[in-house]
């Protein structure tokens, strides 16, 4: 089936018709390539029409493009093929980006109702008094939210990554601190054990942590290295039937309320980052002590402190995964964790937009509600676009992960976009609320404080950019 494009069409767009036996107009995607700089009406020498058979016999792809240089043809073909591959993986999931499946809609509504009724009313108090939301965490555990991707046999909810992202967004919309507790337990603690643990380890270290009664934490950063995760100075040496760990871990979320931790320590210093291994330590445990609770700017209801290991002895089978795989485990865990944090940032951003839009209706100035003023309208529009684009990136990353496709780049993009959207939206929300945005009577100031950390933890925005650039350069390698 060929698409006869008029030769006078002078743009570098091409349409891809994906046919599966019969013509399916719904499968038509229009993908625009970055226009070649030298392209102009007079610069067109030839317009090529090609029919390329994809590897899969059922797909027919037609490319039409205008090029000013013949040598550009081949590279454009290659680029287009790569984009096509990405497009085809997104085929099935594009409809899900437009409208969620019914179960996910019901799940989203349930979490939203819970956040509106149980979390939003107490969020300000939790923040002011630095109180860990133990009761709410247990209730969320009963709902299955504390172990969303864990299979039902181990006590989890057995849901997919998109469901986790939706639940995280709605919970964080109510209370960002509760959101981070949920995220750390799901992605950073249960995540690596589920992926790399033995059946025994899963039963011992996951099942008790699915109900909300116990939560876990993730110890990678140290006072001496955050972004530089490969330089772990915490050491682990084997002594008979035990591992002995020594060192300090910093910025550990949940640690004062956790019952277990995933710790990364160097087992072979000479192998550098390939000499890091992962260990599971119950808490409390002899040799493991906690530093003082940090007095943070935001997410104050969750505890953050140092974990100090002094000749901490653990059995040999507390090692998670093979020896030396620690760095790989950490990076893969953080990839998934990024989707959780992106969702948390989306929740905070959405909460600020809700607050600002509501205020714009009610507050009058110059004789009318301020929502009538273009300056306010432009702000609200910019906020909404930032949130929606970050949300689609997050959903796409989730869908790719569910489809077991590579999702590192999309997850990094999602976290970057969402955290920057959160700081942007909360900043604008305070601006729209004016003086009211600066006081604790309105939640805008709490969203501003909560949003800030999303650009820092689980990979700073700078690290995200490095990850994205690395992936892009890999794609364009000839």
């Amino acid at each position: 089936m060929t698409n006869q494009r008029k030769e006078s069409r002078l743009c570098t767009s091409y349409e891809i018709y994906c046919l599966r036996g019969t013509v399916n107009p719904a499968m038509r995607h229009v993908v625009y390539m970055r226009p070649l700089a030298s392209l102009g009406v007079l610069g067109i020498c030839k317009i090529y029409t090609s029919t390329v058979y994809n590897l899969k016999a059922t797909h027919f792809i037609n490319f039409h493009w205008g090029l000013s240089r013949e040598e550009g043809t081949m590279s454009a073909l290659c680029k287009a093929r790569k984009v096509l591959d990405l497009c085809l993986t997104g085929c099935r999931s594009l409809t899900q980006l437009a409208e969620l499946p019914e179960t996910h809609q019901l799940l989203r509504q349930t979490c939203r109702d819970y956040a509106d009724r149980e979390l939003a009313p107490i969020a300000a108090k939790l923040d002011k008094e630095h109180v860990y939301p133990a009761k709410q965490v247990k209730e969320l555990g009963a709902m299955g939210v504390m172990a969303m991707e864990v299979p039902e046999e181990l006590g989890g909810a057995g849901m997919d990554c998109l469901a986790y992202s939706l639940a995280m967004e709605e919970i964080s919309r109510g209370c960002a601190s509760t959101g981070v507790v949920v995220s750390v337990n799901n992605s950073l603690y249960i995540g690596p054990v589920l992926k790399f643990g033995t059946e025994e380890q899963k039963k011992q270290w996951i099942t008790p942590f699915t109900t909300g009664e116990k939560v876990g934490c993730f110890a990678l950063s140290e006072p001496g290295n955050g972004s530089d995760a490969g330089a772990a100075s915490t050491v682990a040496r084997q002594e008979g039937e035990e591992w002995v760990l020594n060192g300090t871990k910093a910025w550990i979320t949940n640690c004062w309320d956790a019952s277990a931790t995933v710790v990364f320590a160097t087992t072979d210093k000479k192998l550098k980052h390939k000499g890091i291994s992962t260990f599971l330590i119950p808490m409390p445990h002899p040799g493991l002590s906690l530093g003082k609770k940090e007095d943070k700017l935001g997410i104050r209801a969750s505890s953050t402190a140092n974990i100090i290991l002094e000749d901490c002895r653990i059995p040999l089978n507390n090692m998670l995964g093979p020896r030396g795989a620690g760095f790989k485990i950490a990076m893969q865990t953080l990839d998934s964790g990024r989707i959780g944090i992106a969702s948390q940032a989306l929740g905070i951003a959405q909460a600020s937009l809700d607050c600002a839009a509501d205020y714009a209706h009610k507050r009058t100035a110059f004789g009318a509600p301020i929502g009538k003023l273009q300056a306010i309208q432009f702000k609200l529009a910019d906020m909404a676009v930032a949130i929606e684009s970050a949300r689609l990136l997050t959903w796409k990353a989730s869908l790719l992960r569910d489809g077991k496709k590579p999702f590192t780049k999309e997850a990094a993009m999602a976290k970057l976009a969402a955290s920057e959207a959160a700081t942007f939206c909360s900043h604008q929300a305070i601006q729209i609320l004016g003086g009211m945005g600066y006081v604790t009577d309105m939640p805008a100031e709490r969203h501003y404080r909560d949003a800030r950390i999303t650009e820092i933890y689980e990979g700073t925005s700078e690290i995200q950019r490095l990850v994205i650039a690395g992936q892009i350069l890999k794609e364009y390698q000839s």
Binding site: T103, L106, A142, A157, G158, M159, A163, A167
Partner: protein, 245 residues
């Protein structure tokens, strides 16, 4: 029962014929949530065998039934009523439908919310019981099922009244009966597989013509600003002026 969500700000239509419902968030009537929760609790105590969730309304009522299924109901029945019939659907029509369904399904217990938060009629439960000639336990704040009878503690104006009625019976749930649970995620997944049967009122032999006609809907009068007075004598004088005393 699918009603406008309790948190939504209600607006009257410009032609005063009703309230704006298009595009407005709807959810399950809060008292019906309590009723579903009680039914699921009875099933968990193994006192009843099956919980069937019923809703009368347009296509969107299916969402309400799914929520009930996610809370623990076994199957749903959606009685399709839409358009003009839906706008004039009132307690009398709903109770006729309920009575017909109860006979068809051979139900032993009908649990309804005490009233819907949109019309506040508080009639459906009572009418259903009358049509079926079944005993009724309304405004229930405590229900104990014991073999072939039910002990109901009712909240009445004077306090609490405890009655014992035989099954089959109709109960209506009051606020303090229980706290409805949030659907757990595994239950939401299971709800997808549970069946919702589609039924038309005509199939049940129910006539939906309404005997009531809504003449006009108005917003409550705007609250006027108050006045501050210095002394009690001033207050009494002002009240006498306004004709209130």
């Amino acid at each position: 029962m699918r009603v406008i969500d309790y948190a939504v700000k209600i607006r009257v239509k410009p032609d005063n014929s009703g309230v704006v419902t298009d595009g407005v968030k709807h959810s399950m009537n809060p008292f019906c949530e309590i009723a579903v929760e009680e039914a699921v609790k009875l099933k968990e105590k193994k006192l009843v065998k099956e919980v069937v969730a019923v809703s009368c309304g347009p296509q969107q009522s299916q969402e309400t039934i799914r929520t009930a299924l996610a809370m623990g109901a076994d199957r749903g029945i959606h009685v399709e009523v839409s358009g003009k019939d839906y706008e004039s659907l009132g307690p009398l029509q709903v109770s006729k439908i309920m009575a017909a369904l109860a006979k068809k399904e051979e139900a032993q217990l009908i649990i309804l919310g005490k009233q819907a938060i949109d019309d506040d009629c508080n009639q459906t439960g009572q009418m259903t019981a009358a049509l079926l000639d079944w005993p009724q336990g309304t405004f229930a704040s405590e229900v104990s099922l014991d073999g072939d009878n039910v002990k109901v503690v009712r909240e009445i104006d004077g306090g609490l009244e405890t009655i014992r009625i035989n099954t089959p019976a109709v109960l209506t749930a009051d606020l303090r009966l229980n706290t409805p649970r949030y659907a757990t995620l595994p239950n939401i997944m299971k709800a997808k597989k549970k069946k919702i049967a589609n039924v038309k009122p005509a199939d049940l032999g129910v006539d939906l013509t309404s005997r009531l006609e809504v003449l006009r809907v108005d917003e409550p009068p705007q609250r006027l600003a108050g006045m501050k007075v210095e002394t009690v004598e001033d207050l009494v004088a002002k009240l006498k002026d306004a004709g209130r005393v």
